[in-house]
């Protein structure tokens, strides 16, 4: 909208009117003339400052993996150990009061303490009561923002990285609200908590704010941001070939979509299409120095045009078009969409749950291919999935007690602690299949809710289970095949606090991109969108990111 002369006069008049009224209310001549722009300018913590406070890494391995992970890929185990060991010999609790926790969960809320056998069993081992509060992961930000603003946080708070990144002035919040863990965990001090010391340094690096260690990370079990999942069983049954190029992907969409049967080829796919076209997640270094934003990359425009065509030709399920895509998992499970993008973390749970009703159910990540002459790029980073913060102003003994609890929660695979945390109590929450692997029961699915898992970062492993027999090989195989295509995180180990003007343009720009995707604006409007983006905060963001890189000598 271009504002007309008339409305701008109205605006000035309005401003004067409101100004007068408000000034009269507050009664201050103090306001006069001190009008200034609000918002943070952003800040970046140097990578060297971060290295100095990290815990000393010490691997804790109880069992040799069958498929050793490489770098950020987790270790794989193809059989479940017959003999478990005690990883923690002394109960971590010191008899302190119950520990209040809050963590996200994407599913029905488990029963609370007192009515939850799983909580009872784990708390019995801990020697201190943990009283969790689970919040819907989809709306976690709303709860988190309100808590931070009111400075009313639980003793243990688990916050997903993508929510933390959105909180403005988070480094201020961290200092005001959470315990500085540096003295407890820096260097060899971490040896007191051996399973926390075993968490990868790549994950700890992200837990530093203002040069101090403030959180225990929950390392990612695979660095890729997204994968394109497809219903291998349905494609096979319909005689459709697995697409290996963008042209084939489009052809697949045409053939598979059948509205009369209520079947559409695609759910949300745009993020994956961008990766096929070789488009970076945000910034890329230009050959002559400086940074290029992905909107300036012709690959982004090509990906946008390709995906807009899928929408225009009705190959995307109407529910995805009409909502925010919350129901895609159900649509995919019931075969109403055949392909959509999701985090790789969704895979095992969906496969095991759905296969109980439909034994032929087989979801697989589509191998990544390049688009129209371009090399694909896979988005990802070693950023931990969650951070666990301890409330500020706790006595040192309490901090120690809580870190010991987190240490217990981080006990590695092959221990009794791991089994209890991950699967609950045998016979109650899981049954052991013939080959010894635990399979969750209905009660297990209902009660677990990752209530201890999400607060204590564990070293991720992939374990073969009876209900998903091929998952470990498939998962690690997919990663090994594609890890070489993952983009380098230019900012790995640099803590960025983004400027307010940058945060502000994200949503409006996303709105405009979505308008193009959904066909409300032509693809040719991208140039206009890009210009508006760069003018209203994009250039400021570029300068900020370039400076952060320069300061770190990259």
């Amino acid at each position: 909208m271009t504002p007309s002369a008339r409305t701008s006069t109205d605006r000035r008049t309005m401003l004067r009117l409101i100004g007068l009224g408000a000034a009269a209310t507050v009664g201050g001549g103090a306001l006069a003339g001190c009008s200034k722009e609000a918002g943070s300018q952003g800040s970046a913590t140097n990578a060297d400052a971060i290295k100095a406070v990290l815990p000393t890494y010490k691997r804790a391995e109880l069992l040799k993996p069958d498929i050793p992970g490489e770098g950020p890929i987790p270790d794989g185990y193809l059989s479940y150990p017959r003999e478990l060991v005690d990883a923690v010999t002394e109960p971590p609790g010191r008899g302190g009061p119950p520990i209040q926790t809050m963590s996200p969960w994407w599913g029905p809320t488990p029963p609370p303490l007192g009515r939850n056998a799983y909580l009872g069993a784990v708390n019995g081992k801990l020697g201190v009561e943990v009283n969790p509060s689970l919040q819907d992961g989809l709306t976690y930000a709303d709860k988190l923002n309100a808590m931070l603003g009111a400075r009313d946080v639980p003793e243990l708070l688990s916050a997903p990285n993508w929510e933390v990144d959105k909180v403005a002035r988070f480094s201020d919040a961290v200092k005001a609200l959470f315990t500085d863990l540096t003295d407890h965990l820096q260097g060899d001090n971490a040896a007191k908590y051996p399973y926390l010391a075993a968490l990868p340094s790549g994950a700890w690096e992200y837990s530093v704010w203002g040069g101090r260690l403030y959180a225990v990370p929950f390392p990612t079990d695979g660095p890729f941001a997204w994968a394109m999942f497809y219903r291998k069983d349905l494609l096979g049954a319909a005689g459709l070939a697995t697409p290996t190029s963008l042209d084939e992907l489009y052809e697949f969409g045409k053939k598979a979509t059948d509205p009369a049967k209520g079947v559409w080829a695609f759910g949300s796919v745009f993020e994956m299409i961008q990766q096929y076209f070789g488009c970076n997640q945000t910034w890329r270094k230009k050959p002559d120095g400086g940074l290029q934003h992905k909107f300036e990359d012709p690959a982004f425009e090509a990906a946008l045009a390709f995906t807009a065509r899928l929408f225009a030709e009705g190959l995307v399920h109407p529910d995805t078009v009409e909502s925010k895509g919350e129901d895609e998992k159900q649509l995919f499970n019931s075969g109403k969409i055949l392909m959509y993008r999701d985090g790789l973390g969704a895979w095992q749970g969906m496969q095991s749950e759905r296969a109980k009703e439909l034994p032929t159910f087989d979801m697989q990540p589509l191998p990544v291919f390049g688009g129209q002459g371009a090399q694909p790029v896979i988005w990802g980073s070693e950023k931990p999935i969650f951070y666990t913060f301890l409330k500020k102003d706790l006595p040192a003994e309490r901090v120690d007690e809580m870190l010991r609890v987190l240490n217990w929660c981080a006990a590695p695979f092959g221990s009794r602690e791991f089994e209890l945390r991950e699967y609950g109590v045998e016979g109650q929450h899981f049954t052991r299949s013939a080959d010894g692997t635990p399979a969750l029961t209905e009660l297990g699915r209902k009660e677990l809710g990752a209530q201890y898992t999400h607060i204590g970062g564990r070293v991720p492993v992939k374990v073969r289970s009876g209900d998903t027999p091929n998952y470990v090989q498939d998962y690690i195989g997919y990663y090994r095949k594609h890890i070489g295509q993952m983009e380098q995180d230019l900012f790995a180990g640099i803590k960025l606090e983004l400027p307010a003007n940058w945060s502000k343009i994200i949503q409006p720009t996303e709105d405009k991109i979505r308008d193009i995707l959904r066909g409300r604006r032509p693809v040719s409007d991208l140039a206009q969108v890009r210009k508006e983006f760069l003018d209203t905060g994009g250039e400021e963001g570029r300068a900020f990111h370039e400076k952060a890189l320069a300061d770190n000598g990259r």
Partner: protein, 293 residues
């Protein structure tokens, strides 16, 4: 006896109102030792937030959308509960009336998520209507995704949800009208329509005017969830209202000062509208929200 109510008002309405000072601050909730400290220590920036707000074309888009929806609903939604109340009132059978009332009240208790899902399942591209049309060889049209008709869609949803609820007040007002008047008028030979025009509507007029004034005071609030849920389907141009603007530009980017400025703007405009409408009502000889001393 009024003390608890007064305390309630003081604690939950008047005290929090003081928080509006953050509209004039670059408010940072994390400075100082406690939330009160944060108010005192945040930087004072005068009208910076208001300037940023009024300079933002997105804000004016949101204001325009909000006002369009208010105006549209004033014409196409506001009279409907009155009509429904009149119809229900003329139903003689008490059981039938009770049944119809229950059915039309019920959707009021559904959340917006449910209402929107219901509409998607009925009228969406994979919904009942679309599937029926495909069976019949017709091409379904995008009821849920057309930005141009979005205003009709949200009004239809609001009518479905709140029509019955809105009729309650009018039904109560109808039952307060003296039945003798009708009998006397009928005896004098007044027909159905004359009785409606000369007895029923004048009897309802004070309530209608009161609700109209209150609705005007809320002109800049048209709801939040309904719009945020359907925003992606029709785009920002059609679905951005003031409350979603505040959510995206102030709450989710933690520009609390900007959000407070937008809220204050809403409150001031609402107050001006209420006072104006009330004045007009007085001129026309109505009681309005409060009577003239």
């Amino acid at each position: 006896m009024a003390a608890p109510a007064a305390v309630l008002l003081l604690v939950f309405h008047y005290l929090p109102t003081l928080g509006n000072i953050i509209a004039f601050q670059d408010y940072n909730p994390f400075v100082g030792d406690d939330p009160l400290d944060a108010f005192l220590n945040s930087e004072w920036i005068g009208f910076g937030n208001f300037e940023a707000l009024f300079r933002d074309p997105l804000f004016w888009d949101a204001v325009r959308n909000t006002l369009s929806i208010t105006a549209f609903q004033l014409v196409f939604f506001f009279p409907l509960p009155i009509l429904l109340a009149l119809i229900l009132n003329s139903v003689v059978s008490g059981r039938l009336r009770g049944f119809v009332q229950s059915v039309v009240y019920l959707p009021h208790f559904f959340s917006w998520v449910l209402v929107v899902t219901f509409f998607v399942q009925m009228f969406g591209g994979a919904g009942l209507l679309a599937q029926e049309m495909r069976q019949a060889g017709l091409e379904p049209w995008g009821i849920m995704t057309n930005p141009d008709t979005f205003i009709v869609l949200v009004t239809a949803e609001a009518v479905w949800k709140d029509l019955g609820w809105g009729a309650i007040v009018f039904l109560a007002a109808l039952s307060a009208i003296d039945q003798n008047l009708y009998e006397a008028a009928a005896a004098d030979g007044a027909g159905r329509w004359r009785r409606l025009w000369h007895i029923t509507l004048p009897g309802l007029r004070p309530v209608i005017v009161l609700l109209l004034i209150m609705r005007l005071g809320d002109a800049l609030s048209v709801g939040f969830e309904q719009f945020i849920l359907q925003r992606e389907a029709v785009g920002r141009q059609a679905a951005e209202v003031l409350d979603t603007f505040v959510y995206y530009q102030a709450i989710s980017t933690q520009q609390w000062g900007l959000g407070a400025a937008a809220g204050l703007f809403k409150a001031v405009v609402g107050l001006v509208l209420i006072l104006t409408a009330n004045k007009i009502a007085h001129r026309l000889g109505e009681q309005g929200v409060y009577s003239k001393s």
